[in-house]
């Protein structure tokens, strides 16, 4: 019992401290929030609720429930009662004016995206903006629309389909070694701010800064000529078939992604056969290769490696045929091939 009282006392102190902190911290959010319709509600939420229920009303589980779509569970009257009297460890906010309470309830009824725009996420985006400039801008461009070697994130399917940032978090944390993207150590909040920034970039218009490749840009070829190239001098038909592995390829990929896959499929696998000193051989998917070590994954997914000085090995890498074509293509060949592949739906 004493322990419980201590816990409550501690919680009260912590809450008190946080409230004081928030009072200072969120004053700066006001000007940005005022640009939006329900500035009073957003400010009130940021001031009183966000510390427990999250800046985006996402909650802090398991302790504090999310408030997104709270209006589907509770009536405005119930919400008002809850705000004024509190419940469990939630303190009551009895001194809120009627006007502020009404604004807060209205704010809680807005949908997720509106909330993001209104609840001070301009500042989250600004924080993300700073992080982005320092860590990401060189490759992905200052405006996130692509730069030295890095793709346009404002058009990235992964980013656009990733409202809560889970996929982006995965990429940022682990990097993409195959594409030379390094891994970064960011907190969840930092990554979230970067995602908010990128999403903001994707929806804001910037004269002259926009760049990227649209599906419509890649329609200059001649499908019939592409088919002839595919079956003739291109040699594509030696490995591929329009009715076999490439059937429906244009339904799986489109635009730039299709063109990149066509020119060099990055995820193509190679096969390696290793002959050991004992005469024993092992075949599997090539998993690692440098000058000194060769690694493979066997049929069960188990990784094996050897010093190359101790074994002999042969690699079957069909994707090398794509590299050989680079010096042979004309740009017309590429556009024609694209036109042909886009007929394979």
């Amino acid at each position: 019992m004493i322990k419980r009282i201590q816990t409550i006392a501690l919680l009260a102190v912590v809450l008190g401290l946080f409230t004081a902190f928030i009072d200072v911290g969120w004053c700066q959010a006001t000007p940005a929030a005022q640009q939006h319709g329900n500035a009073v509600g957003a400010e009130s939420y940021a001031k009183h609720c966000a510390i427990c229920h999250g800046e985006q009303r996402e909650g802090i589980l398991p302790g504090f429930p999310p408030l997104l779509e709270v209006n589907r569970q509770l009536t405005p009257q119930q919400i008002e009662n809850l705000i004024h009297t509190g419940k469990g460890r939630m303190p009551g906010f009895s001194k809120l004016s009627e006007e502020e309470t009404t604004a807060l309830i209205r704010f809680l009824a807005t949908d997720e995206l509106t909330a993001k725009a209104a609840d001070g996420s301009t500042n989250v985006a600004e924080a993300g903006h700073h992080l982005f400039q320092r860590n990401c801008a060189f490759c992905h461009g200052r405006d996130a629309a692509g730069g030295e070697t890095g793709p346009d994130l404002t058009r990235s399917k992964l980013v656009l389909s990733d409202a809560n940032g889970a996929k982006v978090t995965d990429v940022v944390r682990n990097g993409r070694p195959d594409k030379k993207m390094p891994a970064f150590n960011f907190t969840n909040e930092e990554i979230h701010s970067i995602v908010v920034f990128i999403h903001r970039q994707a929806t804001s218009s910037r004269p002259g800064g926009r760049r990227g490749v649209d599906v419509s840009d890649l329609q200059t070829g001649n499908a019939e000529a592409g088919k002839q190239y595919f079956n003739g001098v291109g040699g594509c038909a030696k490995c591929h078939s329009a009715t076999g592995d490439l059937a429906g390829i244009a339904s799986r990929f489109e635009g730039l992604q299709l063109e990149e896959e066509m020119l060099y499929p990055r995820n193509a696998k190679s096969k390696v056969t290793v002959r050991m000193a004992t005469g024993q051989t092992m075949t599997g998917q090539l998993a690692y290769r440098d000058e000194f070590t060769i690694g493979l994954r066997d049929i069960d997914g188990v990784y094996h490696s050897w010093p190359v000085s101790r074994i002999r090995y042969t690699i079957d890498s069909p994707v090398d045929a794509h590299v050989e074509l680079f010096s042979k293509y004309t740009d017309d060949d590429i556009h024609n091939l694209m036109a042909y592949l886009q007929t394979l739906r």
């Binding site: 150590n185 680079f326 010096s327």
Partner: protein, 525 residues
């Protein structure tokens, strides 16, 4: 009595040595850069020539298989080390963005750490500090040049050298020539003029500025020509050599007709006045982001039977250039890997850009890719074999640009398709490759160091440091460092022990021959 006399002399000498030693230590007279001692690495490239060739011979092709770790220094930073450490009076000075370390070169323990985060400016990399007498010079991501006391890292003065709000940032290691600290700038995302600036080492005052291009807004003119890699210097000719970056808008050339001088060029300037002696366009009217900032390597020797003062550059655009550095005239221009964007080379040695290979709305297949056939990683010239050794990157990409991309900043898009790393030994008289050594898919970020004993040090794409035989390119030694190198190796000798310095991620490694157990070479131990 005699004993006491000697004792007194001994005591006096000891006393004064102790007294004077701190005055001598951590001090670099500018004249010591002209003829660096083997116990120093006093500039980014080690000396003014940019050859990154060391006279040290303790580590040899015979004993290099025994090379082992002397120490490692953990910066505990996510940022990769891209700087080449300076070594002066037994202390290494190196950087990552917002950070400088002074580390004992014998033991790898830290003496001091400057750590000052900045919000603005691109934090893509930091290539190191310069030194003048007892002072260090360091460029911040937000375009400040800071002079620090080499003894403790305390700041003496701090001057702004470019406007970060306009889109400049700074990364390069300044170059000290007499009483000039030469600095360059970066900035590719805006239409800005590049420049070189000479700063007074004592006061931070600007002595002169040379602009790569006319000011932004000049009709039918280019901007760009950033100066983000350290140049080289010929004391006899008193000429400073520098490579300049790409023009802007980057991928669209419509608003900037002509050769776009002096972007993608090698320029020779008087370091006392900033006056241009000559300029040579390496990529006339570039539309592929191929900065020509790679080291302008200086060497004197025979070229086709005639003694020449030469300048060599393996350029990002895929061509290897040999110039007469007295006048900037071409001696040789030859591709050193797949290059498909030119119509050949004109009579003056300039590649002729093929208009059909400019970025287009439906894409153009281009070799090399935007990262280029080589880049910031330093090459090395080995005078004995006449080999120019470079970490090359044969690669292909597709380049796009359409009218709606505008004419500001990038103005297009490009996507790398495929590339690999190859260490290439180029015969400077012919441009032909005498040997090649593959270092992995994707390519390596490691620079090259050669030594007089016939060794070539570099790194592969996977994180191994390599020692190759300079004559044949065969691997003689390697060690996995855990992450690929993004810096260029260096070497020095202290207490008759030769160290090799490499980096990997945020860790600095010092390699040396074992102290005992192996008799490496006659003059050793």
């Amino acid at each position: 009595m005699k004993f006491w006399k000697y004792a007194l002399i001994f005591a006096t000498v000891t006393f004064f040595s102790a007294l004077f030693y701190p005055l001598i230590a951590q001090n670099l007279e500018p004249s010591a850069i002209t003829h660096p001692s083997p116990e120093s690495w006093p500039t980014y490239h080690g000396d003014y020539s940019g050859r990154r060739h060391s006279p040290l011979t303790q580590i040899t092709p015979e004993n290099v298989p025994y090379l082992t770790l002397a120490w490692a220094f953990q910066t505990n930073q996510t940022a990769a080390i891209k700087s080449t450490p300076l070594l002066v009076d037994g202390i290494l000075y190196f950087t990552v963005p917002d950070n400088i370390w002074a580390v004992d070169a014998r033991s790898g323990h830290m003496l001091w750490h400057y750590n000052k985060p900045t919000d603005d400016g691109d934090h893509i990399g930091q290539r190191g500090v310069a030194m003048y007498k007892g002072w260090l010079y360091y460029l911040t991501p937000n375009c400040h040049l800071i002079s620090l006391n080499a003894k403790d890292g305390s700041v003496r003065w701090d001057v702004t050298v470019a406007d970060v709000k306009k889109g400049y940032w700074t990364t390069m290691a300044p170059l000290v020539i007499r009483n000039h600290v030469i600095i360059g700038v970066s900035g590719d995302f805006d239409n800005l003029a590049g420049y070189l600036r000479s700063i007074d080492p004592e006061t931070g005052a600007t002595q002169w500025q040379w602009d790569s291009t006319p000011p932004a807004g000049t009709p039918d003119s280019t901007t760009g020509g950033m100066t983000w890699m350290t140049g080289t210097y010929d004391p006899e000719l008193n000429l400073l050599y520098w490579g300049t970056g790409n023009p802007t808008p980057v991928l669209s050339g419509k608003t900037r007709p002509g050769d776009n001088l002096y972007t993608c060029s090698i320029v020779a300037l008087n370091p006392d006045t900033g006056k241009l002696a000559w300029g040579f366009s390496v990529s006339p009217h570039d539309t592929h982001d191929w900065d020509a900032v790679e080291t302008p390597v200086l060497t004197d020797g025979d070229f086709h039977g005639q003694p020449r003062k030469m300048l060599m550059q393996a350029s990002r655009n895929g061509y290897f250039f040999v110039l007469d550095r007295t006048n900037g005239k071409s001696l040789l221009t030859a591709p050193f890997g797949p290059v498909n964007w030119s119509l050949g080379v004109d009579k003056d040695g300039h590649p002729i850009p093929n208009p059909a290979k400019q970025p287009a709305p439906d894409g153009r297949l281009i070799a090399p890719d935007e990262g280029g056939l080589t880049n910031f990683r330093a090459p090395s010239f080995d005078p004995k074999t006449g080999l120019f050794i470079v970490d090359a990157h044969p690669s292909y990409s597709i380049y796009f640009s359409k009218p709606t991309d505008g004419s500001y900043g990038w103005s297009g898009a490009d996507y790398g398709l495929w590339g690999k790393g190859v260490i290439e030994a180029i015969d400077y008289q012919t441009g032909k490759l005498r040997w090649t050594h593959e270092v992995g898919q994707g390519g390596s970020g490691a620079g090259v160091l050669t030594t007089d004993s016939g060794l070539t040090f570099t790194g592969d794409a996977h994180g191994s440091v390599l020692a190759l035989d300079t004559n044949s390119g065969k691997t003689l030694w390697h060690a996995g460092m855990g992450a690929p190198m993004f810096s260029s190796p260096s070497t020095y000798e202290l207490d008759r022990k030769q160290y090799l310095i490499t980096s990997s991620g945020g860790v600095l490694f010092a390699w040396a021959l074992p102290e005992t157990g192996h008799k490496a070479s006659n003059e050793l131990f």
